[in-house]
């Protein structure tokens, strides 16, 4: 029986998200909610995401617009800790589009 993965290894793997770039691109017009965190920096993007996700139903997808590069680490970490699903990020010239799916049993603030 293989040893259960420690959270650190899961965090490394999770940083890439569970969807590929093509699948993420299709979500731009299909997400339930857009969180605009452009021009803000840690921890504001996460505060806005955390507050917005509280209103979503299981299975709903939120798209977070941000230009704070650190969210590429913070969002996956937040997802692991709250048991939401980190889908991935699209990197554009001046912004990032990150996607999260609200999971069943995820932590509700």
């Amino acid at each position: 029986m293989s040893e259960p993965q420690r959270p650190q290894r899961r965090l490394d793997a999770y940083v890439h998200g569970t969807l590929d770039q093509a699948e993420l691109a299709k979500l731009i017009d299909a997400c339930a909610l857009t969180v605009d965190a452009l021009g803000t920096f840690c921890p504001e993007p996460l505060i806005r995401t955390q507050n917005a996700m509280a209103g979503l139903a299981t299975g709903d997808i939120a798209m977070i617009l941000a230009d704070d590069a650190g969210i590429e680490l913070d969002l996956p970490a937040w997802c692991i800790s709250t048991k939401n699903e980190y889908l991935g990020v699209l990197r554009e010239e001046r912004q990032l589009r990150a996607f999260i799916r609200r999971a069943q049993g995820a932590h509700q603030p």
Partner: protein
Amino acid sequence: MSGGLDSTIAANLMQNLGIEVLGIHFSTGFCVADRHRLLGNTNNPDKPYRNDALHAGAQLEVPVEIIDIKDRYLPEVVLAPKHGYGSGMNPCIDCRIFMLQRAKEIMEERGYDFVFTGEVLGQRPMSQRRPPMHMIEKESELEGLLLRPLSAQVLPATIPEERGWVKREELHGIVGRGRQKQMLLAEEFGLVDYPQPAGGCCFLPDKNYARKLRDFLTHNGSNVDSDDMMLLKVGRHFRLGDDVKIIVGRHETENDFLERFREERGSVWLEAYSSPLTLIEGPASAADLEFACQITARYSAGRAEAEVPVLWNVDGHDGQLLVRPLSEDRQLDEIRI
């Protein structure tokens, strides 16, 4: 939950004892790590800019909520601390009480049973000695319900211990400023990649920041916003008069950051030489503007020239001055904040 070593191992310890943990991370606006994020520091690829509290939550699989207390923190804690300041403008005791009062509110709203922290007796000189720790517990109205698991064995027993929710013998009795025991616990728990111990996470104890904050409050009153607080963390600050101050970027990263605030402020820069971007706050007279140009030239690559052209923009008007770069550091020292 700062995501530092102590709060992380305290949370891991409680998890291992079967306690359901919710991590609360308070955003005060005075976070040192936020500055690195703002400036996009990339000097150390082994330490990417991340929120340490969230990273700890992910390592432990403990939910972490970020609570924004900036609006209340400045007026209620920083400007009027009942228990005074430490070496800088750090109102550590009032800060601790304020955060624990908020934690108590969350505890009661959500049906949790007690609050715990990663505090260690004797570690921090202002807030982590017996008398202030007792006072903090009392003034946050958490008497008996505030557990410090890393030092519990050398502190009075709490309700969680008395009621058997946790066993005192499974807690610790760490005392003092050393971090060796905590690092051993981290290794035992399999915790990796925590922030280096003993690193301060708040700007308020920093004497340089405290000086700039005091100056700002003296001349601007308490009418401050988060942009003002952030600008105090960046650049060289010089006071030209009661109502006029300049902020001089120290390198390209700071210049890029200061660009965001250019619209609402006057600005000075050189194009003929590599140069800082200088922002002017307040109504600058012609003499103030010239002085700002001389200071900017002093910190530019043209500092050794007899005269350099300096560009400026004030109240929507552009212009250029030919100035002699300031050469007397004594003059700068007199106005440096």
